[in-house]
Symmetry: C2
Subunit: 539 residues, 2 copies
């Protein structure tokens, strides 16, 4: 069963081995486990619904609590410490575009706020409820979870927008196809959520971001339907798909999405490679991606992350021998691990791996082989489970990500880690900050930094304050280096304050104008993407 | 020197060999050369400018005539028959974003209409001047034609928007780079024009359409500047680049564009391959593009185009022997020619060619080799020159293109050719219609049909009427099959009537709202993209 106050299914957990625990102690001091609130105590405090009975809308406390929050760190500590912000007044589970239409009309008629939700995995505050005199309806598309049409000639598949990753892949695999979109939230996040937040999957190097996969669909907006037909390419004016992507529930509710699928690959493998230091490693992956080799993934950990991952992996004796071998081959304490994915027909896969290894050798790379890669693939969606474990040990964990052109990748990576250290130093605390590049482009790369720090004593308020300072400091570093506010998590409420840096004044006015155009009454997800909603509870 | 009433430089011409002439006679009857108007006669009829003297604006008749029209068939016969519609009242050649800003402010202050222009190669009526009480300023960005910045680490190059293809490539080649964007209009069309009309180059299979190449830029809009920073990828809300692309001068004037460039390739070659018939050929190219092999181009001619091209090629004896050989190998009268481009490092090129040939063999393909491919490459921008030759022989020529998902490619291709034949049959005339697919995607393909028919006696009016009926009938066929109004030429005035079919009512309202947002006074290029301008001269 899905955890109500932590990541994922409660049958899955990631243990921390003794060496990893010792590393955390050494780097951060002992953990300080907080006292978790019970779900019952939160349920007892949910106020009466302001939405009157309707056959499509559930108003029981349990449904409302389950839709109230996402998976951001702020959402996490709200649940863990029982610091309950406003929750929706009702939850609807429409099963068709027609029912979504009916609900939007109802919402406008009664002056409700509508917050669309699917997998509920947002880590950017997309699901926050404002403090408002207006009733709030959470509109879940999770029952629209079917493969509606598959055209194998055009390799196009139409899904209900609420179809989660595993159901996308299972329904396609039955026909020999894959979408190939594997974000870390894959187990719960949905095709509709991917589209409206511009998601990126781990193998985007082969399959493309969701921007490349989304071919068309159906959006119900407050002022009527927007149907986007599939076209292989078009020069017919601005591309309306691009308004749907990244709209984060502001323009309407995506009900159906047609995506570009691919036959299941003949060959797929993942390979671990070590490089002597960051500069060599960055130059190597930049060279590979600029060569446009048919790879499916590159994931480059910096030195601290490499050390962290090797410690987390367990098998200390085995890893110890590997490290001795690597050191002899020139990959010592500064070494960086690269995970390389190859997904193709067998001959192309062979060509790609040979070429990649040939290029990597010139940067001092040591090829380890596919064993660690297979292990990575087996655990590819398990990373977030570690957050549950760390919390129980008394540590907080969060991630912040961006993307920037190559010349700023290293300076920004260092600045993001340093900004976090400075924030916690002011509290007399330490933070363990480490980073990888997971999505590389000829022009630049995403940067994905992870932060672990000891939970503060005193419950919600001091922990929330530390997190806010962390987010603000790292966001400032990102803005200073010309990075985007988000490469793969979207804007939501958490990044809305910074969006103007990259969109500029006229860009921001344009987005506001589009909100007004599609949603003249301000029904849809206010305060997300743009800072026009709220006020917000201090919790 | 560039021809004022025909395509290209007057030092270049494409002769029609005797066999090609005989084929035209046999298929269409004798040509009927019209009487060309002189440039002087047109200049003499240009009315006085309604724009008073300004240091940035030329108002002489010669400048105004040269900016008045593009390269559409309608524009062509206007010039050839001297049927002059309204021309701009003045022409400005700003050299900086600041001067563009000044001109836009001036235009709004005086109530002028502004029509941005660069290479002037539009074949969709982007440059038409409405019949209006408002003075019309043609704003040419052609002096903004420099490489302003090259970042070899991120492989990003910033150009003045008016930089034409040859200057883009020459300035990049000096540093060992290429943009790789080669539309047939390459000799004159510009980076800015490519962006605002969503252009596609012949090797888009490797380099991507301009959508993939355009990384950011600077747009001066009537309400202020919109600066779009370069980012390798972003999930930060709707992508504003996508509003600039396809805006066709409606939202403002693009002054600078940053594009993604690539080191010059180690290897480039083009290969001719024949397939027995259309069905085998279409299945073969679909299989190749869906395999995502690293090819740089596929260009598949249907049977009529294959025959036409082999006749146009000359060398009748040589071609005759080749056709005998092909027939023995199963490629007889229905054969279709495929031109395959390979652009990559040497080893990847070898892999790609081997894999492509292996796949093609299973569809009955016969590989001819690179000689015809080299000839194609040498003449890759010469096609439009044939229009000059045909006109002199008494024939009209035009092209209509679209893109559609694979299941509709053949039905739509046949319908586009048949619609043309039906239109001319009603006049008791014949039309030579032939087609190729030049841009293929896993999901579908572009369709590029060419039409040649005898010039009608009687000057502008009967020729204009025939062309209007041709465009309308083919557009209807495209709409009936779910094709886009344009894959690579844009909307302009000629396709604006059909745009609603693919954008839908809310999509059209959204584009209109965006025009109003960026251009509240309706200054920018009215009647293009959307049907809100005019009235238009009957000529």
């Amino acid at each position: 069963m899905r955890r109500w106050n932590g990541w994922g299914d409660d049958a899955t957990s990631m243990a921390l081995n003794d060496n990893a625990r010792a590393m955390m102690h050494a780097r951060l001091g002992p953990g300080r486990p907080g006292q978790d609130a019970t779900r019952e105590s939160l349920l007892a405090r949910i106020p009466a619904s302001r939405i009157s009975a309707h056959p499509l809308i559930a108003t029981d406390a349990s449904s409302r609590l389950s839709m109230a929050l996402g998976e951001s760190f702020a959402d996490w500590i709200r649940k863990r410490f029982g610091a309950l912000p406003p929750v929706p007044d009702g939850v609807a589970y429409p099963e068709s575009s027609e029912q979504v239409r009916e609900l939007l009309d109802l919402a406008q008629q009664h002056g409700w706020i509508v917050i669309p939700i699917a997998g509920g995995t947002s880590v950017a505050g997309h699901l926050d409820c404002p403090v408002s005199g207006r009733p709030i309806l959470s509109l879940s598309v999770s029952r629209m979870n079917r493969l509606l049409h598959l055209d194998t000639t055009s390799q196009l598949a139409t899904f209900g927008a609420g179809t989660p990753g595993p159901l996308v892949e299972a329904q396609l695999r039955a026909h020999g196809y894959t979408l190939g979109h594997f974000p870390q939230s894959f187990e719960y996040s949905t095709v509709g959520g991917w589209v409206v937040t511009r998601s990126s999957g781990q193998q985007s190097l082969r399959y493309g971001r969701i921007e490349a996969l989304f071919a068309g669909g159906h959006l119900e907006t407050p002022v009527g339907p927007l149907h986007i037909p599939t076209l292989p390419a078009s020069s017919a004016g601005p591309d309306l798909r691009e308004l749907v992507m990244g709209s984060e529930g502001r323009f309407g509710v995506l009900t159906e999405a047609t995506v570009r699928v691919t036959p299941l690959p003949e060959h797929e493998s993942f390979h671990a490679i070590f490089l002597p230091n960051w500069d060599a490693a960055e130059a190597a992956v930049r060279t590979l991606v600029q060569r446009k080799l048919p790879l499916s993934m590159m994931r480059l950990s910096n030195g601290i992350e490499t050390e962290t991952n090797l410690t987390l992996a367990g098998h200390a004796t085995l890893i110890g021998w590997m490290e001795r071998y690597l050191a002899l081959r020139g990959c010592g304490t500064d070494k960086c691990m690269l995970m390389l994915g190859i997904t193709a027909d067998a001959r192309t896969a062979r060509h790609a791996l040979n070429e990649a290894r040939r290029t990597l050798r010139s940067f001092g790379a040591v090829y380890i082989g596919p064993a660690m890669g297979s292990k990575w693939a087996a655990n590819r969606f398990k990373g977030p489970y570690l957050r549950n474990t760390l919390w129980d040990e008394g540590y907080c964990a969060d991630t912040i990500e961006t993307a920037v052109d190559w010349p700023q990748v290293k300076p920004l990576m260092l600045a993001m880690e340093q900004a976090a250290r400075d924030v916690f130093a002011a509290y007399g605390e330490r933070v363990h900050a480490f980073t990888h590049l997971s999505h590389m482009y000829p022009q630049g790369s995403s940067i994905y930094s992870q932060y672990v720090w000891p939970t503060a004593a005193g419950g919600f308020a001091p922990n929330f304050e530390r997190w806010q300072k962390l987010k603000a400091a790292v966001a400032q570093a990102i803005a200073d280096h010309g990075g985007t506010v988000s490469h793969q998590h979207g804007v939501g409420r958490d990044h809305a304050t910074q969006l103007h840096v990259e969109k500029g004044p006229l860009g921001m006015a344009t987005l506001a104008q589009l909100c007004k155009h599609f949603d003249p009454q301000g029904t849809m997800n206010p305060g997300k993407l743009l800072q026009d909603g709220g006020p917000w509870a201090s919790t």
